[in-house]
């Protein structure tokens, strides 16, 4: 066989193999998501924004130190407002940054006092003040929360209490079983985004609303 056609055939076959494998894998993955137990997406008692009886739930696995999570936050509020009464957001912890494990404890402890969203907004807005070189500085984050009207003694004791740590542990375990390696990760009624992006998230929510209402 001539060398050039042989080379081109080889190259073509390898690329074709790659494309076929990728398509097969993606199809296989969508079956995987469909077969997931719905229980791994939601946790009872996790912080929720939006009406409790909304039929569309966006579950976000997030890290308070994650810049993209902070960037997405205003858009989430927009999405909830766009479909009044139909969409809610549930936040679940995925503390992937070093030091974030302590910061999510603060958030969960603030949640026990009904101040999760205020605490989260404060931390998101001031990320530069408590994150240096992608490493969370829990002491500085705690200092920021001093500005909130909280029972601070209770916050500190709750942080290391069993309820807070077991709630976070459950989020981490569910995140691991869903294969979460980066934040934010969104699931809309148990469905992941086909690829990462705000447009994809909006589309997913739109589809879910149309299906559910």
């Amino acid at each position: 066989m001539n060398r050039k056609p042989l080379f081109l055939t080889g190259a073509g076959l390898i690329i074709l193999g790659f494309v076929v494998a990728a398509v097969l894998y993606q199809n296989n993955q969508s079956t995987f998501w469909g077969g997931q137990d719905q229980g791994v997406f939601e946790r009872q008692g996790a912080p929720v924004k939006g009406p409790a009886n909304a039929r569309v739930t966006i579950v976000e696995f997030f890290d308070p130190a994650c810049g993209t999570c902070a960037d997405f936050y205003p858009f989430l509020k927009q999405i909830i407002d766009q479909y009044p009464g139909k969409v809610r957001v549930m936040m679940r912890y995925a503390p992937l940054h070093t030091g974030s494990d302590e910061v999510v404890k603060m958030l969960e402890a603030a949640h026990r006092q009904g101040k999760f969203w205020q605490a989260l907004e404060l931390l998101f807005k001031n990320q530069r003040r408590w994150i240096t070189g992608h490493v969370s500085q829990p002491m500085r984050a705690r200092g920021l929360l001093n500005g909130l009207a909280l029972d601070h003694k209770r916050l500190d004791s709750d942080m290391n209490g069993h309820e807070v740590t077991s709630a976070i542990q459950m989020d981490i375990e569910d995140g691991q079983s869903l294969g979460i390696k980066a934040t934010p990760e969104f699931f809309v009624n148990g469905r992941p985004m086909p690829s990462f992006g705000l447009r994809q998230l909006k589309q997913l929510v739109k589809d879910a609303v149309e299906e559910s209402y």
Binding site: F7, G10, Y25
Partner: protein, 147 residues
Amino acid sequence: MKKESSPGSSQTGWYLLFMAWIVVTTATLGSLFFSEVMDISVCELCWYQRITMYPLVLILAVGLFPYDPGVVRTAGPLATIGWFIALFQTLLIAGIIPEAVRPCVQGIPCSESHLSLLGFLNIPTLSLITFSLVGVCIFFTSRMESS
């Protein structure tokens, strides 16, 4: 003194290089499949192996058209370095090299094996096999052309 190589040897030499190219291209796309399609994180040692493997796809292809056995002088060192890193990581996963010398960041430990095919083939072992095959092909090409 260097002798002229016979047409027969350069024919075989070309096929050997072509085989090396097939192996290295398959491995390159395979590694991209793991990281981009399957979303497996790439650890530090894996990156070093990629650094030595990916250029071989182009370097070997350039050496095939027109056939230039001199390409082994560039491809050889790359394949050798890659081979040693793959060997190191394979031994790390096998537990033969102790934990204390693990060079990786906490997030993605190199000593953790993400994938296991047929029970024993993990990604660094695949990489070691790739570099070995490429090394053998390159070695025989250079032997053939210098004999």
